[in-house]
Every structure is written in structure tokens, then in C-alpha cells.
Symmetry: C2
């Protein structure tokens, strides 16, 4: 399996995106294709040795809570150690703090191997995202105490946003943060607060993989009247470590008042403990100068250090959320790839049935391998088109992140616009279509695919999470049609169209792709036209009633564009992989892109069939 994945990644990185040219930039001057390859080799090896063999194990041996500790399989501990030792937690960081100064696109490609091998073992994405947020918004002391130990793998990180009553709607969070008595502003680790509240759906919220866990917690600071400010503008961000630390980040041995209430038992993605946490309810009372002694068992609150300005929490958290959304998209993509490659292996060996037509009429003929059946080829080619298309999207977005960080001002501005627009697609499209790919992988296996003796049913279960976490499908669609296509007077959409038109221009000059080029441009005229029609009345309830179908059409339009761009990169090559990429591109244009008309029709018409459905009529 790993071979097919590596080949797909190598082609996209070096032949399509030409990331080796990043070495001409000052930040990456010590890099080259050789150093990038060495990173990919390492990731591939660790994923193969420490992740893949245990993917089923972490599904069957779910995290358990014995009342005191969360128990994870030994394999999870070893995988974490190997991952941390690889340096990947610090891959993109400066040499000065022990990083590799890798481009983000190479980091993302390296991490893809772990997601394909066992998506739920790893908590690396959250840890890196947490530390990156602190590097962007924390003080030097906060970075030293909380970020650097995460890059080193000694601490792990979480993001604590949702609450039982506040999932998608963060404005309704009720976790309360009050200043921790006189002098609370003077703590070397940042303004010190006491937090009380419940946080739900916290991945890796409790475990013993690391010395400490750094929770980044959204909470509200009550006003003078004691009430929590309404809306998202009242949200602040806090560092709440599981174990309190000294100013250098060394755990003091004093537990902070963060307690596991329970584990969520999930359909899939079971290797990662998902938790409900209580902050400041007195399970681990912390004495202090602040309100209440904390020694009466009631709990004075968990100690938290504010990051940045009060009320700025959501904006800061979004720094982490955007990376997380690309990470989710990549995870969905890799689950899809894993299923595709597993079903391809199966189809190449499993014998069943005979060819259609006269040649197959003779039952005395031996059966053929199922890859010889057209419908099995269809299911394989669909998977390839979905998953390698999604991989192109994720790597393209990752490359844009590098442009944002190291491009010139104009290029960085373009990259910013494109990323804003493409992030909801990078999150949503693989979540939907690589899940569909996993279903096809089951189907290729027949009954065997439905058993737990083969890996594909787990990929499918694991992948179902991705349309939910880090912003649901509906949230992504509102972000796309409600904000991103409108932003800066439509300039993000114009930036995307410029890139699409450039691809179409190149493809239009090639006989094999001239028709697809025209089809792509027509499709994008309809996608743009539908957005205008949706907003024609200016009423968001009309415009957004069909935001999800719009996002589906937009996503298919993006993937069609990227496939055409990839196909152009294969011109003149007749090796099997290039032939296969071109065929996948044809598949996407012939079987998939035509689906957008059905989705766009309801957007264009501002169809109110759903919105007008009376509740009592369901």
C-alpha cells in the first residue's frame, strides 16, 4: 500500500507542485529534494513499523478509564515516542528552537503517511497546532513553558472549544474565567485566572503519553455585573496545563483542577481518547491567592493563563482551526487512499466471475480476477479520482501556506485569499467523497469488506467523523457561501478564477484536454452565477438555505480544476502512472463534474422547499 501512496505524493510534490524550488528561498536554503525525501522516508518507515500494524488494535482496544487513569495500548505509547523522536512535531519550526525549517507542504506530506497507517493513533496534529498557536499569539514565557515542550514531544496539546450545550455555536459557551486574586496580572506565565466549566469532545483530553497536557481553553470573563458577555466577542483564550509548571515549564508535581468526567465511545477513530473534561470542579483543588481557598473541596477553579487580549480568544483559536481543517481534510484523504489501495490489492488477486460477452459464456473457463470487471474498475477509478484529487487539493493548500509565509507581498496576499476560499473545501470535500471512496472500497471486497478481518470497514467508520469535527459540513458551507465568496468584494473568488482560467488556458491548447478546458470554464461560470443568484435578494436566509449543495458543486469544480492541472503535468508521458492520472481526470470530467448542475439548480433558484417545510409536517 505504502508504495502507491508514496508514488502519488512524490508526483504531486515534485512533478506537479515542484516544491523542490522552494529551496531557492532563504528560509529553506539548506533544503533540497534530498532532504525532503529523507523526511518522507522517515515518516513512511515509522508509519509502516509503528502505526500500520496497530490500526486494528487501537480500534478494538478502545481507551479505557479506570476512574483514575486513561489506559491506552502500549503500541500507542510507542507510536507517540517514535513520532516525537522523528522531529515531526517540530518539523516546520526554526532551527533556533530545534526545528527542521521544513516547508509546511512537506510536513503535511510526511504526516499523510501516519494518517494512512493509523489515523487515530496520532495526536500530533493537535499538539503541533496548539504549539503553533502559542508561537503566534503567546508571550515568550508562554512559548518557553508550553510550546517548546510540545515541539519536543514531552507535552501534548488539546483544543477545548465545545461544551455539552455549545457545539457548533461557540457564542454560547459558559466556561467562566475569573482573575485569580490580586496580582493575577503579574504571573510570569501570563495573566492568571481560575476557570470553571465543562468541555466536550476534547480529543486527547486525558492520557499518559506525555509528562503534561496543555489545554487551550475558550472561556468567558464575567463583566462587572458578574454575567458572562454574550456572543463570540466575549470569548478569551487560556492555557490550562494538566500539571502546573514553574516558569521554565517544569511540572511542579501539583495537579491542576482539570478532571476527566468520561470518555466518549465512538463509531470509529477510536485510538484517540475523546473526553468530557471538568475544569475547576474541585476534583484536584488548587490553593491560591484567588477567590475561595480551593481547599474546601469545592474547587476555586483550574488555573489558566490568558493568551493575548481578553475577548480575542476566538480569533486566536482560528489560527489553529484553519490548520486543523486542512489536517482533517488530509486525514479524510488518507483514509480514502488507504481504502483505495487496499481494495486495489484485493481486486488484483480475488478471482470471481467471468468476462461479459461470448468469452465469458463458457463456464469451463477459469474465473477472472475481479479487477477485470468493468464495474470493479469503475469503483476503483472513482476512488482514485476522489482520493488523489483530494490529495492534490490538500497539498495545493499546504503549498499556499508556504507562500503565505515565505512568498513576496503580492504572492502572500494571493495565497491568503485562496486559502480563505479553499479551506472550507479542503475540509469538506474529502470528508464527503473520500468517505464515499471508503464505501466503494468495502463494495469491491464484497462480504469480506463488511467483516473486521479486512481493514476497509474501519476506514469507513473512522472517516465518518470528518464531516463533523472541526466545523460540520453545514458550518463549512455557511463559511464558503456566507463569507468567503463575498470577502473583499469577491476578490478571493476572482483570485481562484484566475488560477482556474490559467489552467484552462494551458489545457485548451492540448487536443486531449481542449474539451475539458471548455467544460471547466462553463462549470465555473455556473458556479459563480449561482452564488450571485443566491445573494440576489441579499437575504441570508434565502442565500444560505442551499449552502451545502453550493459547497458540493464548488468542491467538484475545484477538484475538476486540479485534476485538469495535474493532467497537464503528465503531457508527453506514457508511463502507466501518467496514463492512470489522465484517465482519472477523464473520469472526473465525465462522471463527476456533470453532477454540479443538480446541486446548482436549487442554489440558483433560491429554492425554499426545505426552508419552508413546516415543522409539524415532518
Amino acid at each position: 500500500m505504502a508504495q502507491g501512496l508514496r508514488a502519488a505524493i512524490d508526483f504531486l510534490l515534485y512533478e506537479w507542485l515542484r516544491v523542490q524550488t522552494l529551496a531557492t528561498r532563504a528560509r529553506y536554503a539548506e533544503h533540497s529534494r534530498e532532504t525532503f525525501d529523507a523526511v518522507l522516508d522517515t515518516c513512511e518507515r515509522i508509519a509502516r513499523d509503528k502505526y500500520a500494524p496497530f490500526n486494528r488494535l487501537v480500534d478494538t482496544e478502545e481507551p479505557r478509564f479506570d476512574g483514575e487513569r486513561v489506559i491506552l495500548p502500549a503500541a500507542t505509547h510507542e507510536a507517540w515516542r517514535a513520532y516525537a523522536d522523528s522531529g515531526m512535531l517540530c518539523a516546520a519550526q526554526d532551527y533556533a528552537i530545534g526545528g527542521m525549517q521544513l516547508p509546511y507542504v512537506v510536513e503535511a506530506a510526511g504526516n499523510a503517511f501516519f494518517a494512512a497507517a493509523s489515523v487515530s493513533i496520532g495526536a500530533g496534529m493537535l499538539t503541533v497546532g496548539n504549539a503553533n498557536l502559542l508561537m503566534a499569539h503567546g508571550t515568550a514565557a508562554q512559548q518557553r513553558a508550553f510550546a517548546l515542550p510540545q515541539f519536543a514531544g514531552r507535552f501534548a496539546g488539546t483544543m477545548c472549544l465545545s461544551e455539552p450545550q455549545a457545539g457548533s455555536s461557540l457564542s454560547d459557551i459558559a466556561t467562566r474565567a475569573v482573575p485569580d486574586g490580586p496580582g493575577h496580572e503579574d504571573d510570569p506565565l501570563g495573566p492568571r485566572y481560575r476557570l470553571r466549566g465543562h468541555k466536550m469532545w476534547i480529543s486527547a483530553g486525558e492520557h499518559e503519553l506525555t509528562e503534561n497536557i496543555v489545554h487551550l481553553v475558550l472561556a468567558k470573563i464575567p463583566g462587572a455585573d458578574g454575567r458572562l458577555p454574550a456572543g463570540v466577542k466575549g470569548i478569551s483564550l487560556f492555557i490550562v496545563p494538566k500539571w502546573l509548571v514553574d516558569r521554565d515549564g517544569r511540572p511542579t508535581g501539583q495537579r491542576n483542577d482539570v478532571a476527566l468526567v468520561g470518555l466518549n465511545h465512538k463509531c470509529g477513530w477510536r485510538g484517540t481518547p475523546n473526553t468530557l473534561l471538568n475544569f475547576g470542579e474541585g476534583r484536584f483543588p488548587v490553593a491560591g491567592a484567588g477567590v475561595g481557598s480551593g481547599l474546601d473541596g469545592q474547587g476555586a477553579g483550574a488555573i489558566g493563563y490568558r493568551v493575548g487580549a481578553a475577548g480575542d480568544g476566538l480569533r486566536q483559536m482560528f489560527h489553529m482551526m484553519n490548520e486543523a481543517r486542512i489536517g482533517v481534510g488530509m486525514a479524510a484523504t488518507m483514509l480514502g487512499m488507504a481504502g483505495y489501495l487496499a481494495s486495489l490489492d484485493y481486486a488484483r488477486t480475488r478471482q470471481q466471475g467471468r468476462r461479459l460477452g461470448p468469452a465469458g459464456k463458457d463456464p469451463a473457463q477459469p474465473p477472472v480476477r475481479i479487477i477485470e470487471h468493468a464495474d470493479v474498475k469503475r469503483m476503483l477509478l472513482a476512488q482514485k479520482a476522489y482520493c488523489e484529487g483530494a490529495l492534490a487539493l490538500e497539498l495545493y493548500c499546504a503549498r499556499l501556506v508556504d507562500e503565505l509565509r515565505t512568498g513576496d507581498a503580492e504572492a502572500a496576499q494571493q495565497a491568503h485569499l485562496l486559502l480563505e476560499l479553499l479551506t472550507p473545501i479542503a475540509k469538506s470535500w474529502p470528508s464527503e467523497w473520500c468517505l464515499e471512496a471508503n464505501s466503494l472500497a468495502i463494495q469491491v471486497h464484497g462480504g469480506y469488506g463488511y467483516t473486521r478481518d479486512f481493514p476497509v470497514e474501519q476506514y469507513w467508520r473512522d472517516n465518518r467523523l470528518n464531516m463533523i469535527h472541526e466545523g460540520t459540513h453545514g458550518i463549512q458551507a455557511q463559511d464558503l457561501l456566507g463569507r468567503k465568496v463575498l470577502m473583499q468584494g469577491g476578490s478571493a473568488l476572482r483570485a481562484l478564477r484566475a488560477r482556474i482560467d490559467a489552467t484552462a488556458g494551458r489545457a485548451g491548447a492540448l487536443p486531449e484536454w481542449a474539451q475539458a478546458s471548455a467544460v471547466l470554464q462553463q462549470a465555473w461560470q455556473r458556479i459563480e452565477g449561482a452564488a450571485h443568484a443566491a445573494w440576489a435578494s441579499g437575504d441570508p436566509t434565502e442565500a444560505l438555505a442551499n449552502a451545502v449543495p453550493y459547497m458540493q458543486a464548488f468542491g467538484h469544480g475545484v477538484i475538476a480544476w486540479l485534476w485538469l492541472d495535474v493532467a497537464c503535468a503528465t503531457v508527453g508521458r506514457e508511463d502507466p502512472a501518467s496514463v492512470g492520472r489522465r484517465q482519472a481526470c477523464h473520469y472526473f470530467f465525465r462522471y463527476e463534474l456533470p453532477k454540479i448542475d443538480a446541486w446548482l439548480a436549487v442554489v440558483q433558484a433560491r429554492d425554499r422547499t426545505c426552508a419552508d417545510m413546516p415543522e409539524e409536517a415532518f
Copy 2:
């Protein structure tokens, strides 16, 4: 939940299909809406009391094999007993043998409640199908010994078709049946054979719910040269009881040589043990007059009694398969309905977020229930349109079975044609779209839907089986486009079009539905045209390369027709349920039916993109 299901069934049975009029037929003369209602009441009650409370239990407490016995939860035993005691195993049978002489459509509606409550507890469908096959093809002695005890719930039945190397391709089965010595033709229970072979994917293949298990086994009788005949024409059908019986069907206490090799561990549908069985390998040797003593531990073979003529096995088994396919479609539909109704309940109570537009801008306003969000309404209305549309299809097909059995010659012939054509749709469409409904039910629940604390993730896992068993999606599509649309010079398709045109004619006279009526007829012109285009070259490899997209389009066309027909049955009614049915119909025409163009385009073009993909290019 049950309330919404009952209302949907009542409407379709009595207001739409008007099944109460069946009471004018001689066979059903003692029936009336009152007796039908009494059956539905009983089913609803038993399903609520004995099935629904244990649906999660049978998922977590999977069948276990301790080396001797298959252990099922006590609840499964109690559910079986209650089901058998209800008389539903014998519902459609003659009064003379203890049956209720119920119309099949009422039997199917009653069984729907069990599928919705816990799809995998029940093995009733296989038992009834097995016994029905014997009533159609067995001798009087076979019926008395093996069918009647199944109708009474003392025995259970299986269908043993697949083998490890022969799943979809039954022509490759290798189970061998040899005459059991001199006089084998004279056994009162039928010609006696010894069987040896392996059977895979056998649902309810081993358990202790009943005194005995009646396996209906496909096997081949070797020719004079000792070789098995090639192809499906060499397949014969045998009754192989787990415990040998005397001529009255009383178990003799002598075990037959049928041994459980192991249980399959599935993604879902876990309440039903799914088995690999060894026939005649000597685990339970049976002495006899035949080849080999059977006492040397080698095994002379399991004793089996041939049903009907040698070589006629597959045709006879298909008698059972067609019922099984409608049963699978109904199971898929009920899983969809269960998810729909669960997510509807959730959406009516869960509070999250605020309305779009100015009214929602004020964060001091309390959150709304999520059913007030247009995108949640969209996900609920899609589920309703999929699942109630599928329910209409299943009940329509069940009603056709009654017409086949009790209609006049012309009506029976029409029903036969329509059933042949619609069976692959009745099997495949709910398997695909009610699974999609289950995914939407998870999505409505957000993160909670992904946990095992809510039922929807299990419905989704359970439902994934339905595209696989009883003929995969690909097999159904080949059946549809390769056989059924062609049969008798296209007369099945003409029969269907006549019904569709009749509906369109009625709808065309109604202002609300005139446009949908025209759209439906245009859609069916395209569906028919695509079939002609597919077969234009007469080459099955070209015609069938896109059989699945064709089936998807055909299925959407069928459901659109049925929704329009249902909508016509609500004319003049303004109660909420009628409003809801009309809105679901509008949804289907506006959001779903337009999808057929993308599917048909590749059929029409005899697109070879998939078929031409070189294997090495994947």
C-alpha cells in the same frame, strides 16, 4: 418513533394502495382493515417491547462460539419466541396449515416494525423464505417435515449459496452431492444424498433458538466421470437439516454432519450470527448405507434430500431470492426510517445556534432548536424523501406479489413483469439511499451522532450490509440493464411506463403537479433512451460497463414516479402529514431527480473510461 412509522405505513397501505379492497378477493374474504390493523398493532407492540430495547445489546454482545455452541443474548431468544408466537412466521399461509391468509403486503408492513426496531435480531425472513420455497417446490413429505415446523417457529431456516471462493459467482460452487447408496431415491423425505463442502456468509447458520435448523443448500451432483458439471445448470438444491428427522419431521437426536467453522465478525448487523459451515467433513459422522461407512471419522457426508429435479436448484432458489431481495430493501428502508425519526426527535429538542439574518444577530437571544435551521430541515426532508419513498416502493412491490397470487390472469401477468423489473430497484435503491439517510441522521446529531450513546451510528453500520448481501449492487445493475429491461422484447419496461404515464396523466391535470408530471415523463424518455443507446451496439461489455449509473438513474426515476403518485393521493388534504408528503415530493423533484442526467450521460455515450483503464495504471 413508532408513531411516525405507523402513520407512514397506514397512509401508504390504506390511503394510497387501498389494500383494504383486497378483502373483496376470495382468499382474503375473512379480512378487513380491522384484521389488518390488529396484525400491525401486534407487530408494533412486540417490536417495541421485545426488539427495540435490545437493539444496542445485540450490537455489543455479538454472537460467540465457544467451540460447541453459539451463544446469543437471552433477549434474542425471547424476541424469537415472541415473533413465532405472534403467528407472523405463518402469516401468509393457508388457514389449513395454521396460517392467517394475510396478503403479502400486510405481512411485509408488519415485518417492517421489527426491522425498524432491531434489524439484526430477527431471522424470520430467512425462515419464512425457506419454508415458502419448500411449499412451492418440495414434496408433501418435505413440506410436512421441514416447512411446517418452520412456520410454527420450532425450526429455523437458512439459505446456503455462497462459498469462500464463490460469492457472486454461483456457477463456481464446489459443494458436492453424491447419491447416498442403493435405494437413495426411495427415502420418504426425498432422494437422499451425501454433501461435502464449505458454505460462507450463512446467516443464522448455527444457533439454539430452535429445535432444528433447515439448511437449503446449493450443490452439484458429479457426473459419471466424477467431475462436477460446469455452470449454473449443474446446480441442485438440497434440504440439509442440522438434526436428522423422522418422516414426520421429529428430530431423531442424531446430529447431521453440518459443523460450524467460525463466525464472521461484521461491521454491523451483529445480532444475526453469520457463519462459515462445513458440510460432511466428519465432525458429526453419520452412518448410512452409502459411500463410506462414515464411522471412520472421515465423514461420508452430510445427509441432504434433493428438492425437485437435479440441475434445477438455482431456479428454485431464486424463488426465495426474490422475496429475500424485497426483504433486504425493506430492511434498508426501515433502518433509514429509524434514523430519520431519531434525528427528527433530536432536532426538535436540541438547541444550538440562532437564525440567520438580523433576527439571529443578537447573541442575547436564546438559541433555537436545530430543526429551525434550513440546513437541518434539508437533511430531515432528504431523509423523509428517501425513506418514505423507499417504503412506498417496497409496499408497492409487495402489493404486486399479492396481485401475482390473487389477481386475474392479465393482472397477474402485469404484476409479474413489473416485479421482475422493480425487484433490482427494490433491493438496490433503499440500500444506497437509506444508507445516505442514515449518514444524514448522524450529521443532524453532530458529534453525538458519532457516539454509541445514540442509535444512529448503528443504523448506518447495519445498513451498509444491504448493498452487499442477496446480490451486490453490481449484480442488481446487471440484472436490470442486462436482463430485465430487455425481457420479452421490453414488455416489462412498457408495463412500467404505462403505470408511470397513468400517474403523470393524473398529476398533469393538477396545477401543483403539472410541471412535475412533465418533468417525470421527460426523465423517463431519457431513461428509456439511455437503455436503447447502451444496447445500440449489441455488445454487453459496452452496454453494461455503466450498469450501476443506469440503475441509479432508473431508481431515482421510479421513486420520483411513486412520490408523484403518493402526492396525488393527498389532493385536497391540508393536514400536516399531507403537506409534508407533498413537500417531500417537491424535494425529490427539485433536489434529486435532476441527478439522473449525470448518471445517464455515461450510459448514453457507452462511456468506456472505466472499462479502458489499464490495470497497471491504477
